[in-house]
C-alpha cells in the first residue's frame, strides 16, 4: 500500500531537519567558550557573546590566557616600596616591534629598594592596537608579575594604557592585571580602589567576582 502523500511529505521534511548540521567549527567554538566560562566562573554572554564569530575567537583565547596566567602566578613577595619608572615614550612614531630586554632582577631584599625594571625599547608609540599587540604587552606584564617584578609589570601596563590607542579589546583584563599587580606590590588600598572603579564601570563583566576579591583585602 503506498504511503499517503501528506505523510510522505512530512517524513521528508523531518528527514531534512535530521540531516541539518551545525555550521562548520561551531562545536569547537562552543567548547572554547565553555572553557572560558569555566575559568572565569561566569555565564554572562556580554563579554563572550561574539566569540562565536571566528574572527573574535582569539579574544576568548586571550581571556583564558590572561586569567589562567594570573591564577597560576600567585606568589607571596615581601612588601616593598615601588617607585614607578617614568614611562618610556618616544617623540617620533616608530613602526618597529617592541623589544623588551629583561635585565637580571636583583634578589628580593628586606630594604625598600626598588627592583630594576627591564630596559624597554620604546616602540609602538601611539599605534593602533591590534589584538596581537595587546596580547604581547599583557604577556610582558604577566611574565614580570610571575617573576615577582611588579615594577616591570606596572610599566608594561602603563605602556598598554598609553601607547596602544584605538578600540582595545582587552581593557578589562589589563585592569584586573593591574589590580593584582598593585595588590602584590603591597598597595592594597590602590588595588581595592581600582577594583571598585572597575566594578562600577563594568557591572556585568565576567571579571567582577575576581575584582571584588581585592576589595576586602584593601579594607
Amino acid at each position: 500500500m503506498s504511503r499517503d502523500p501528506i505523510d510522505e511529505l512530512g517524513a521528508r521534511l523531518f528527514e531534512a531537519a535530521r540531516e541539518e548540521q551545525p555550521p562548520q567549527g561551531a562545536e569547537q567554538r562552543a567548547l572554547e567558550v565553555a572553557r572560558c566560562a569555566a575559568v572565569s566562573g561566569s555565564t554572562s554572554l556580554s563579554g563572550v557573546w561574539h566569540v562565536a564569530r571566528p574572527k573574535l575567537l582569539l579574544w576568548a583565547a586571550a581571556l583564558a590566557l590572561v586569567l589562567g596566567l594570573v591564577a597560576f602566578g600567585r606568589r607571596e613577595q615581601p612588601t616593598s616600596a615601588i617607585k614607578r619608572e617614568p614611562l618610556a615614550t618616544t617623540t617620533q612614531a616608530r613602526a618597529s616591534e617592541a623589544a623588551v630586554v629583561p635585565q637580571p632582577s636583583a634578589p628580593p631584599t628586606a630594604s625598600s629598594e626598588v627592583r630594576p625594571a627591564p630596559r624597554v625599547v620604546p616602540t609602538l608609540a601611539r599605534s593602533a592596537a591590534t589584538l596581537s599587540d595587546e596580547l604581547e604587552l599583557l604577556k610582558v606584564a604577566q611574565n614580570a608579575l610571575v617573576a615577582g617584578n611588579t615594577g616591570a609589570a606596572l610599566q608594561a601596563l602603563d605602556r598598554y594604557d598609553v601607547i596602544l590607542r584605538g578600540n582595545k579589546k582587552l581593557v578589562a583584563e589589563a585592569t584586573l592585571l593591574r589590580v593584582e599587580t598593585l595588590s602584590r606590590a603591597g598597595q592594597a588600598k590602590a588595588a581595592a580602589e581600582l577594583a571598585r572603579d572597575f566594578i562600577a564601570k563594568n557591572p556585568t563583566s565576567p571579571l567582577v567576582d575576581r575584582a571584588r576579591s581585592f576589595i576586602s583585602k584593601g579594607e
Binding site: D7, A17, E27, L31, A52, F214
Partner: protein
C-alpha cells in the same frame, strides 16, 4: 587569595567520578543534539549557535552536578530555557526595529545546502511554529531525534501517558497544517 578550586576540564573528584562527563566529551556527545533542539525551538542558524554556546557555558559552570546519565536531560532543559530567553529577546528587538524581514531571511541556503533542503527546513520551522510549544517539542523529539515515548517523557518531565497523548495530538495537528500547505512542497516536481 587562592583561586577557587574548580575541576574544569575533567571530572571532579569524589565517589561519582566515573559517572561525570568531562567538558570535552559533553560537547562532543551532545552538541548536535542541542543545536537541533534550538533549531526546533525556532531559532535561526546564527541564533542557534549563539544559544548553544550559552547552553554549554552553563553546563561548564555546573559540570560537577551533571552525571553522564542525566547529561542529555540537563542540556535539554537548559536549551529550552535559553531558547525561550532568546526568542523573547528577538521579539523585543523586532518590536523596536519593526524589522520582520531579517528573521525570515536569516536561514538562506548555505553554500553546501540545496535550495530544496533549505526550503524544506524553512517550511518545517514555519509549521512547527504554529503548534503549541508543548506539542512542538514532543514532535521534534519524536520525529527529528527519533526518540521513544519513554525517553520523551523523561526529557519533558511528564508521565509517559501525557507524552504519548501530546505526541498523538501533535502529529494530527501537524498533519492538518501540512495538508493546508502542501502547495509549498519543496520536493514537488514541476510539470
Amino acid at each position: 587569595m587562592s583561586w577557587p578550586r574548580r575541576k574544569i576540564l575533567s571530572a571532579s573528584s569524589g565517589p561519582d567520578d566515573a559517572r561525570r562527563p568531562a567538558l570535552e566529551s559533553l560537547v562532543a556527545d551532545h552538541y548536535s543534539f542541542v543545536w537541533r533542539q534550538l533549531r526546533g525551538f525556532g531559532l535561526s542558524t546564527v541564533d542557534a549557535e549563539d544559544a548553544a554556546q550559552q547552553v554549554f557555558m552553563i553546563a561548564a559552570r555546573k559540570l560537577d552536578t551533571i552525571t553522564t546519565e542525566r547529561a542529555r536531560s540537563f542540556l535539554y532543559g537548559t536549551s529550552l530555557r535559553v531558547a525561550n530567553n532568546a526568542r523573547r529577546g528577538l521579539r523585543r528587538r523586532r518590536e523596536v526595529s519593526g524589522d520582520e524581514s531579517a528573521a525570515a531571511h536569516a536561514d538562506g541556503p548555505g553554500p553546501d545546502q540545496s535550495s530544496d533542503l533549505s526550503e524544506a527546513r524553512t517550511l518545517l520551522r514555519e509549521l512547527l511554529a504554529m503548534l503549541p510549544d508543548e506539542l512542538r517539542r514532543v514532535l521534534v523529539l519524536a520525529e527529528v531525534e527519533q526518540l521513544e515515548v519513554q525517553e520523551i517523557a523523561v526529557l519533558e518531565s511528564v508521565p509517559v501517558g501525557t507524552a504519548a497523548s501530546r505526541l498523538r495530538r501533535a502529529r494530527q495537528q501537524f498533519r492538518d497544517l501540512l495538508a493546508a500547505a502542501k502547495h509549498r512542497n519543496p520536493f514537488a516536481v514541476e510539470t
